[in-house]
Subunit: 138 residues, 2 copies
DNA sequence: ATTGACATTTGCCATTTGGCTAATTATAAT
DNA sequence: ATTATAATTAGCCAAATGGCAAATGTCAAT
């Protein structure tokens, strides 16, 4: 008659694996390399990425730097932390609004400025293509 | 011949239990009450307090509010977070060669993170193509 | 097609975590 | 002192976590 913890925590663990994988291949790293850099095992990371296992905070912390995440960022994504403690009134719960992904930032910053500009040029072209394609579909 | 993680993490788990107990009795709460408030079990909390078990992030998160800790505070104490996170990512040039063009940054930041990542994914593809092309040319 | 070098996944296992129940230990109240 | 009652601890167990080794998948070069 005790039953202290019925049901799910409201922990957002959806898609965390995918996100980690996306980040890893974007860098790009193999599972083994990431395992090496983070001091974990490739097999476990593989399972984490395809959501067969949920990573503990210890693992998450080890993954943060090699993947270019801020320390608490992965924790937030994993649902261990509520979204953005320090923020006063921005706080988009879905993490999408006006934030530049730290890894993206880091990578781009290493390119010459013309390349950076070319990249967003390509992006805007792709977006307009996508837009007109969507319109054709009626 | 693999051995990815020998030895201890440099996680500060010393005295965390004592600290939790001090806080609990200071409030004051019994183990059962705290267990009730946090949705955990008194037996486990007892063991945590006398450091027979180390609490997972999930438990820590549940304990934070009833004990009057800030969300990330217990995480820091537990060694899951390094002291003084605060800085949310971005803007710290601490690493990397160049600067990110502010206009580029602004435009990209308005895209969802997947798009941001896709963009640098495309960039890396283009770079590898360029590289191999250059090699073929000699 | 075959080999060889990597990368990923799977099988299996040890360790940890955390809950329930029961036992023990404090704390009052007669 | 002796119960009654509450609080803590200990015994046990199921589930989860994460590592290693072996199997499988992939891909380029022969």
């Amino acid at each position: 008659m005790a039953n202290y913890n019925i049901g799910m925590d409201n922990v957002n663990r959806t898609g965390l694996g995918e996100l980690i994988r996306q980040q890893r291949v974007a860098i790009p790293l193999t599972l083994q390399e990431l395992a090496g850099l983070s001091g974990t095992s490739p097999s476990h990371l593989g399972r984490v990425e395809r959501s067969e296992r949920f990573p503990s905070a210890r693992i998450l912390r080890k993954l943060a730097k090699p993947l270019g995440f801020g320390e608490n960022e992965l924790f937030t994504l994993a649902g261990y932390l509520s979204p953005q403690p320090s923020a006063t009134s921005e706080a988009q719960p879905s993490y999408g609004g006006g934030q530049l992904d730290p890894y993206v930032s880091r990578v781009l910053a290493q390119e010459p400025v013309e390349t950076q500009r070319a990249v967003i040029g390509i992006l805007s072209i792709l977006k307009s293509i996508a837009k007109s394609t969507a319109q054709e579909r009626h």
